[in-house]
């Protein structure tokens, strides 16, 4: 079990893209930097949702461009 939701997200992104977690930060672009194409994005979303037991809605999906965008959505489901 990951320590935090954010860490879980980073782990999933790293596993799916093969990019080491240390090279992924909030500014990392999903398409430009991680090369995530649409099926991969679908897979990442399904994994994040399953792992954290949340649903990212379609408006949020439309606005995902960076890793920070995903973390922001996740943060709204796990307020500090």
């Amino acid at each position: 079990m990951s320590d935090s939701p954010a860490q879980a997200v980073l782990e999933i992104l790293a596993r799916e893209t093969g990019v080491p977690p240390t090279k992924i930060n909030e500014a990392t672009e999903l398409v430009g930097d991680l090369g995530i194409d649409s099926p991969r994005a679908l897979q990442v979303l399904v994994e994040i949702e399953d792992k954290l037991d949340i649903e990212v809605n379609d408006e949020e999906v439309a606005n995902l461009r960076t890793v920070g965008d995903i973390l922001e959505v996740v943060a709204t489901r796990f307020p500090a």
């Binding site: 398409v31 430009g32 194409d37 649409s38 099926p39 679908l42 897979q43 999906v61 439309a62």
Partner: protein, 538 residues
Amino acid sequence: MSKSLYLVNPAPVCPSYFGAEVFEQWGFPGAQGIADLATPTVAALAPQDWDISICDEFISPIDFDHPAEIVGITGKITQGDRMIEVANAFRAKGTTVVIGGPYASLSPEQLRPHCDVLVVGELEGIADELFADLESGDFKAEYVAEKPDITTSPLPRWDLYPNDRALMACVQTSRGCPFECEFCDVIQYLGRKQRHKTPDQIIAELDLLYDIGYRSVFLADDNFTASRKTAKAILAALAAWNGSRPDGPVSFNTQVSIDAAKDAEMMDMLAEAGMTLVFIGIETPNVDSLKETKKRQNVGIDLTERISVFVEHGISVVAGMIVGFDNDTKDIFQVQYDFAMQNAVPIFTLGALVAPAATPLFDRMEASGRLTADGSEVAGTPWDTNIVHMNMTKDEMTGGLQWLCNSLYKPEAFAQRMIRMIETMGPLRGPFASHRQTAKAGLRPIEAEAVTILKRLIRRSPEERKMWSDVMAAMAKKPDTGPAVMLSLFRYAQVRCLYDNGGFWEPRVTEQAAVSAVAGGAAVGASGLVSIGGSASG
């Protein structure tokens, strides 16, 4: 004096393979898979000082209190009943109702009693006369058009259309088809001489749609590659245009016939232009049936090999299949299944042979007393038909088709064909090869809804989950196939929507052999009416 015109594209009686009813099934607002081109075209042909608005009922409800003086209704056969309802409602309150479009042109007798003005055939050549008469109030009950030259067609009025609710745009590049398949009504509607728009016209339409935000476009041809020379001139223009789009290329889909695969230059040009999916009327692997129905372009060739040529060029194939030709015996369901499973084609549109009203097949069935009074003449209504099949009872046909459809769309079988497509598919070509890294970040809202639908689909059952993980594993080795995989998965969601909608989805029927399913008739369902695409093209 200028008038007000309300153009309506009424809802269909049932979903279709290429539709997008799956959005509503999953709780989203109505949507179109391909934007309706008839309403923006008629709007462009009407006087531009008129006050014109469009309602696509696939997307939003009709405003029956609309104050327009004239209501124009379009539609295909699946919309026929609703066209009549809408017409009657507006006429009851005194609005002048004009009806046109494919169904009105091919079955005018069905609509004549329900409108003030019936337009039979294509509008371009008679638009000036029709609208002048409507403006003066001195109009005829019926206008019958000649086949117009379409090189002067105006730019469709896409500014009036609800584009945010359509996945793909639509551009018509030609009308008519030189082939003469017995079951097809395209020739009766548009003739055998193919008439094309000019490349400049097509590019002007594309510029408009690109600015609106569309990144995929259906080229609404009956058979895009039928006239090789003209098709190549258009493809050269498309390639030049698509390769220089500032915000990434557009993906094109169209309908072609299988003979294009033997023209190596044509195949390269299709790929270089950005063609990513084609619909092909394969109809049947039974050669005697192909001959019977005059599908000559499919005879004497290895269909599987030709289909692979498209996929190797990075172009996915959707194949239209028909069962119930006079030469089909009860083993046809198993034969079709075996054929489908050996092809790199995830999506098949399947249905029983039907005889649409204007076709040579209709005349032959009528002459031999084989038309049924109450059956459906909509191609691809799997459990219904308007003809008596030669070697099967209606129950046997329904049982066999239900077995075939369920067997082919079982998640496990669908995964196998997806994986075959992935393994066969060549690298991204043309504009997509250079845009790999700069692929558009961010989705249109309707595309984001489609992603949500796919997320839910994958979780629908353990079988679907496994289908997806097997497909992802295959795709990991061929990342270029990503867009094709997503498109096929979305079409799969729509197919499931059709089958669910008509009570046709019953995987238990696949536990028996095809032959017992035929003998037993339909196991369940067969209560609703679901149109699933059929063929009648390419």
